[in-house]
Symmetry: C2
Subunit: 249 residues, 2 copies
């Protein structure tokens, strides 16, 4: 059983606090990608010693790579999520991203720098996702929301950064009855300071079935290997010295 203390950079997880209560309800944002799948495993076991009741939340938002939803469904079953809600929202209504507007091509072999934000950025996506998670958490009485944002090996999306999460936490504390009058719902980001290599290694220790996860933005039969998401994933596996079981073109 993995203890998070063996991962010194995962410092947002306080094992003592987490294991104090039995069967805490937690909402986990699960896209079906590599990061959120590792996160889902992490919340359901590992440091938490099966003490969490995981309520998984996935969005069918009109993404080009809708294929990731299949992965999310399988991962939610694997981790024995207490509940798995798939929320249908249509962000193609206004597009503004290569992921929600088919007329904008997905960049290939782009230079990966955190300072340039690619056209795959979806306007306010994480704000929307966290808002739903907050609503869900408050309705079911969950005490924590887990989101697999990462600001080391990532595409430079601004809504993956700690400053954004901190601001959302402050908003959440004022936006809900729970926040104002009860125990605040905490936003947890245990992967935020991990590199992709470290996430792959973490997934391996947790027993994540990587073949169920999907990262490629194109969402075709085979992963393209050249979009930002594929490249970050491939680099992570390579650096971790593990073979990615997904089929690539």
């Amino acid at each position: 059983m993995l203890l998070l203390s063996s991962y010194p950079r995962i410092n947002t997880c306080n094992v003592k606090n987490i294991t104090r209560k039995k069967f805490k309800k937690v909402v986990v944002l699960l896209s079906g990608g590599l990061d959120s799948s590792c996160l889902a495993y992490l919340t359901s076991k590992g440091c938490y010693h099966n003490k969490n009741k995981v309520f998984a939340l996935t969005f069918d938002y009109g993404q080009r790579h809708k294929k990731e939803l299949k992965g999310a469904i399988k991962i939610a079953k694997k981790i024995k999520a207490k509940e798995h809600k798939i929320v249908k929202i249509d962000l193609t209504l206004w597009g503004g991203s290569a992921l929600t507007d088919r007329k904008i091509p997905v960049p290939q072999n782009r230079r990966l720098t955190a300072s340039s934000i690619p056209v795959t950025y979806v306007p306010a996506r994480n704000t929307i996702f966290l808002s739903f998670a907050l609503s869900y958490a408050e309705a079911i009485g969950a005490s924590e929301i887990y989101i697999g944002v990462n600001s080391v090996d990532y595409s430079g999306y601004i809504d993956c950064r700690k400053t954004f999460i901190d601001k959302f936490q402050k908003l959440a504390n004022l936006a809900t009855i729970t926040g104002v009058y009860g125990d605040k719902i905490k936003i947890k980001t245990p992967l935020i300071n991990l590199s992709k290599k470290e996430i792959v290694k973490l997934g391996l220790k947790l027993g994540v079935d990587f073949s169920l996860t999907w990262s490629c933005y194109k969402g075709e039969k085979l992963a393209c290997g050249v979009c930002d998401s594929c490249r970050l994933r491939l680099r992570g596996f390579k650096e971790a010295g593990i073979e990615d079981p997904l089929p690539y073109r």
Copy 2:
């Protein structure tokens, strides 16, 4: 033509700034209720001298009073909104409110105090609505988002208060590319300090067709007259000395 300066309590609207640019794009959250309908008229004319291009945004969220959507569609046409998006989201997936869970009855003749939050509160609803508005605004290049929250004659919903809006503004500034690198998208709440009586009077001056608006939470053929929303509306009309054209039971 109404000038907002004649409404001293509407102090969030700076006419000078607003009229500086021609055809500014603004997103207006429009439920089809009394407040948001007055807001929609206000943003499309009045102090803005028809300089705004209004992009109306309405949510079909599984609300008991889905009937309000018809009003929203008519109001959007009346104000000649440049675009009107109706976003379908299903908040009945987890309910937690008398408006999204048919098993919870709508309270009748409840004592109206801001300190007690009724079961018609929908978990994180305004956070969700503003998140979508932020996404929409960023995608179309709008510079302002208008929301008809009101914290004088209201049901005590915590996500209608200025502190909540201020926190959302801070989040928005960090959650979007526009917020971080461009002109920040501003959240505007011109009705926040108005009483219901003042909103009715404002609507009258703006020429709002009140018969198109819908407030009753029950959403039946006739307004019930006893839910919080009906009672606040009726009291507003009464205090303004105007007859509410809606049919009541």
